[in-house]
Amino acid sequence: MNQATPMIEVTNLDKYYGAFHALKDIDLTVHQGEKVVICGPSGSGKSTLIRCFNGLEWHNSGRLVIDGIEVYDGAKEIRELRQEVGMVFQQFNLFPHLTVLENLTIGPMKVRRISKAQAEETARKYLERVHIPEQADKYPSQLSGGQQQRVAIARSLCMETRIMLFDEPTSALDPEMINEVLDVMVELADTGMTMVVVTHEMGFARKVADTMVFMEAGRIVEISPPEQFFTNPSSERCRLFLDQILAH
């Protein structure tokens, strides 16, 4: 882990939905190449937090600096930032009217203005990386959930992102497809990508995470390395949560 360069710096961040206080006084730093896994009960603000990291949600106060760019509502640099920060969604959100290859090339071609030939070459490279090069000409609806999610990962990678955010990437998948997606994520972690992952897959977390974050009711309750997090969490609430999801 390279402690020198912070990629994501969150300071005193607060977020409201109307009167609802969704994120409370969040402080978090993610360094280059670091893998952070965020877990916690549903409604604790995990997804909201990582959606703030690429401007899908806006915080109301505090500071958020990503790769040296200050993020706030109306920031001009937000589109450049989004090209650096890839996002993988729970529901895949592939473009259903485009083939797999077109899903991967449309961003580089239209946003980064890369030639079609070059975009396709990159796309095929990343399809290879996620182990589905043979599906390039199919439509998303012709693929299984696991394959669709791997296409979604490749779509983000095609933008040559420096940070990857995962918002419960395996929660919408049938159980037998979870591993093929997690395997791709583990391989991606090995390449040194900075990753922030919201997930309940604790096996994955143990294998990959440098830092575990536990959230509850809009607050970060615990930040610790995985050894300590899984064996001796400092907060009682976190211990209970782990007991519940690791019990079976």
């Binding site: 996002m87 009217h97 609806s141």
Partner: protein, 284 residues
């Protein structure tokens, strides 16, 4: 044809009970066609008898000259086809303009800007609550002299503005029908709102918009007849002109109605083929 002919069987492989005789009787193709023919025949006969009793002198043999003529200088189209082409031209120009205005209004409404949606809603309520005929008079007798445009421009603007209100609602529904996740995915790869609309949202809205949009085109072609009141050259106006020359109101109005019917039917059938194609292309 009925269900038992299709070899479909009920639970546990038992044949489905045969539907009652009366239902089978009315469901059969032959009987349906016969009933349909009888109804159409009765209407035709009714108008014929009605016309007879008022001493109407049918002159169908004089109608073809308004469709086409073979003169010494060769074949030439009659007034009805010429009027039809004018109607189609008027409708196409109005529809393109209406689509452009409609898209703009829909985007304003969806922009999230308070002023944008206020302008859009104001426009919608204003246009939707003025009768088409009054709108036409406003454009022709009020705005025409002020801004110096002629009756043809006035009728195009009237049709475009009137239908843009309805089309903007179709756009809005079509755009809203695309899952919000598509927006987020487009944004997350750095697309601008324009790029997201252009490459992601609108292409997917098309299949939601195609059926109501066809209805709207048919509606526009039909409502284009109203511009005959300010004597713009198109199908209905030509019909009126022919009748004032020949007094054959029954024959000509039947013919004009049939021409509109044929055009709009062809359009509907064409689009339903297109819809099937889209449904096959992106099955989800």
């Amino acid at each position: 044809m009925n269900v038992s002919d299709l070899g479909i069987s009920g639970p546990k492989g038992q044949p489905l009970p045969r539907p009652p005789f009366l239902k089978r009787f009315f469901d059969s193709v032959l009987i349906s066609v016969a009933i349909y023919a009888i109804i159409v025949g009765l209407i035709a006969y009714g108008s014929f008898v009605g016309a007879q009793s008022m001493g109407y002198n049918w002159q169908w043999y004089r109608v073809p000259q308004f469709l086409y003529r073979n003169t010494e200088i060769g074949f030439e189209w009659g007034q009805i086809p010429i009027g039809l082409v004018a109607t189609i031209k008027l409708s196409v120009i109005s529809f393109l303009l209406a689509t452009a205005i409609g898209l703009l209004i829909a985007l304003l409404r969806l922009s999230g800007l308070v002023i944008g949606s206020a302008v859009a809603v104001g426009f919608l309520e204003l246009i939707r609550n003025i009768p088409l005929l009054v709108l036409l008079y406003l454009f022709y007798y009020v705005l025409g002299p002020i801004f110096g445009f002629d009756r043809y421009t006035a009728s195009i603007l009237t049709l475009a503005v009137f239908h843009s209100a309805l089309i903007s609602e179709i756009f809005r529904a079509g755009i809203n029908a695309v899952h919000t996740g598509q927006w987020e995915a487009a944004k997350s790869i750095g697309m601008s709102p324009f790029q997201a609309y252009r490459y992601i949202i609108l292409p997917q809205s098309v299949r939601f918009m195609l059926p109501p949009m066809t209805g709207e085109v048919v509606h526009l072609i039909k409502s284009s007849a109203i511009v005959s009141v300010i004597a713009v050259a198109e199908l209905t106006t030509f019909g009126r002109n022919i009748i004032s020359d020949t007094y054959m109101s029954f024959e000509i109005w039947f013919t004009i109605a049939l021409v509109y019917l044929v055009v709009t039917l062809i359009l509907s059938i064409g689009v339903s083929h297109l819809e099937k194609k889209y449904a096959v292309d992106q099955q989800n």
